[in-house]
Symmetry: C2
Subunit: 379 residues, 2 copies
């Protein structure tokens, strides 16, 4: 009997009832029946985002929502700030380059977070900067950035704050309206426990003024078309019907459990994971003050082949964690705390990690990781 | 017991075994397990397209694949031809406008098909035209265009032939390599019997030269990134994992049934539908020589409210056909012949059509439509 356990930060495991929703017979999207679903999803996403603004549904995965944000906001020659502290921050820079942005890059060492002060200094010097692109949860490094502090800065300026919350939304705190984030992009396959293929972008009025003036070419991702369609409870193009229907179910879970309680639970899982890592000689990669609660990146012990570690867990034992990307390839193991992943999944995952670490010759007291996690989880 | 019958030209009904595939636990996309699926899907799509060229998978719905074709091929100022004989032909024009194309529009009356001669005349006059954008099956009018004849023309020139085969592929003949089509765009939710959210675009070498020279901004849809990733059996960004896994199953059905046999069957259904329409005083909208075999558009009889007809069938009886779009709003009923729709679905649908036509006061011999269809189906 081969079972599997998916602990990656996207896709995340899909609970059985959402699997069943994905397998339902399809309905046509230009019907009152589907409009009812669109309404529920709009309200549910506004709840999770903490916003009254429109949330546009796009049939694409995460990078599509990032490109949508850039091509709707950045005209050739526009001054923008991007924050680069990992692979996904770099993606903002690459996208702004493609659309001819005049970019000020805030370079952050991997494992550290950008500070609001860095953004403030740039905006003070150049008040004609149009937009600031940041990452809530940098999936490649497990660093979380203090968006609230950055929004404190941008809300006093004309610059629009654009947040990649793809792997953060529904897994860690983000209060779009209260904090003053202007554009938030996210997707279905992280905190929302669904397959990839549905993106959503919330856009407030301040940002929409930039959208209307933007000179960059766009059609499929054109927020003006999305806004017009949404006013009629519709989408401009054929939407990802199947995932949207399942998203309505997923969002019910958020309402029932209560967002705050869920976020607190993920934070507890993150704390337990870091404790386990410490007990196994696998320190958290990020600095302590910016460790994400949506996923953990644990350093692979010296002498252990990190790629082999992940491969054996997955191919021999059916437990899938993520390895490192780009400059962290082979150097970290990444474990998600989002969606349907619960404390017992985590214990199982750490158990597998210990089993394979031992096979690969790492010296530690068997059970130390699981025990450390349990101590946090049962404190 | 309320049952439903979906007869629209996208989304189309999803067979129960594909529903089950969509409801499977998800796997991570950067694994050997998923690479195996990508290989199967690549081979299966090449079979259906009749091509040896790369087929790029994009997480988007149909219009996304059309934008992908345009933003990878059309640089600002490039001369292009678009063929407009319906809503989706017009979409090519709109997309080429967005990307700054210098457009020669071949305007065709709705219900008629463009002729290869029209394209030839334009290309003879302006041999520096870069690309020709056409529609295999114009979903808004049920007109099919002779792509083979147009490809005969373009293959002797430098112009690249780009085919929107979104609602045509897998439902009607298209032999990409044999005919000489250079780019073919399609999607998951028509002939392939899956939810919308997965697009694919096949690009041959002639077209790829244009891709490499293209100056338009693109990132998520950049074919250069797709090509590079595909060479490593990967996708550049998180793919629509769930639909891709189900597509592998769908493509097995094409192999098992045999593409030619399936296409012949859809043509037979189309013929039966037109016969039923004629018996009910609902002539086919397109000219006889360009009626599509992938869907039929039947004219709503004078005195009958076409929107009401579609609404009652759907909301009272659970049978969903499509109404008309744009200038055909309220004037036609559209019925698909693709994917899992079979002859008995068709009889059921026509039975429902007759029931509601009668309720709306249309005069005809009850049973005439079903009988006419049966005569074709049992000839």
């Amino acid at each position: 009997m081969k079972k599997t356990l998916l602990l990656t930060p996207g896709p995340t495991q899909i609970p059985a009832d959402l699997c069943a929703a994905l397998g339902r017979p399809i309905i046509h999207h230009r019907t009152p029946q589907f409009q009812q679903v669109l309404k529920e999803v709009q309200q549910g996403l506004q709840y999770v985002l903490g916003t009254q603004s429109d949330v546009y549904l796009l049939a694409c995965s995460g990078t599509g929502t990032m490109e949508a944000a850039v091509c709707n906001l950045v005209s050739p020659g526009d001054k923008v700030i991007t924050v680069e502290g990992g692979k996904f921050g770099e993606r903002w820079t690459e996208l702004c380059q493609v659309y001819g942005g005049d970019i000020r890059v805030v370079k952050v060492t991997w494992g550290k977070a950008a500070q609001a002060k860095q953004i403030k200094d740039l905006l003070d010097k150049e008040p004609d900067i149009k937009a600031v692109f940041v990452t809530l949860n940098e999936t490649s490094t497990a660093v979380s950035t203090n968006i609230q502090a950055i929004a404190e800065v941008t809300r006093k300026t004309d610059a629009v704050l654009v947040v990649d919350a793809i792997s953060g939304l529904g897994a860690m705190e983000l209060k779009m309206d209260e904090w003053g984030a202007d554009v938030v992009a996210s997707a279905s396959h992280k905190g929302f426990m669904l397959p990839p293929g549905l993106g959503f972008v919330a856009v407030n009025e301040k940002a929409f003024k930039l959208v209307e003036r933007c000179a960059s070419p766009r059609y499929y991702f054109d927020f003006r078309k999305s806004k017009k369609a949404l006013a009629q409870t519709d989408t401009p193009f054929t939407p990802a019907i199947g995932i949207i229907i399942a998203l309505a179910e997923s969002l019910k879970k958020f309402r029932e459990a209560g967002l705050d309680k869920m976020l607190a639970e993920y934070a507890r899982l993150a704390q337990a994971t870091r404790a386990a890592g410490q007990a196994l000689g696998m320190e958290a990669f990020p600095d302590a003050e910016c460790c994400s609660s949506a996923l953990s990146a644990l350093r692979v012990p010296a002498g252990v082949d990190g790629e082999k570690l992940v491969k054996i867990m997955r191919d021999t034992y059916g437990v899938t964690m993520a390895g490192g990307q780009d400059e962290l390839k082979g150097k970290v193991v990444r474990i998600a705390h989002m969606g349907a992943i619960d404390e017992f999944d985590l214990l199982a995952g750490i158990g597998c990690l210990e089993k394979v670490l031992k096979q690969l010759g790492h010296k530690f007291a068997m059970g130390a990781g699981v025990k450390a996690a349990q101590e946090v989880l049962n404190a």
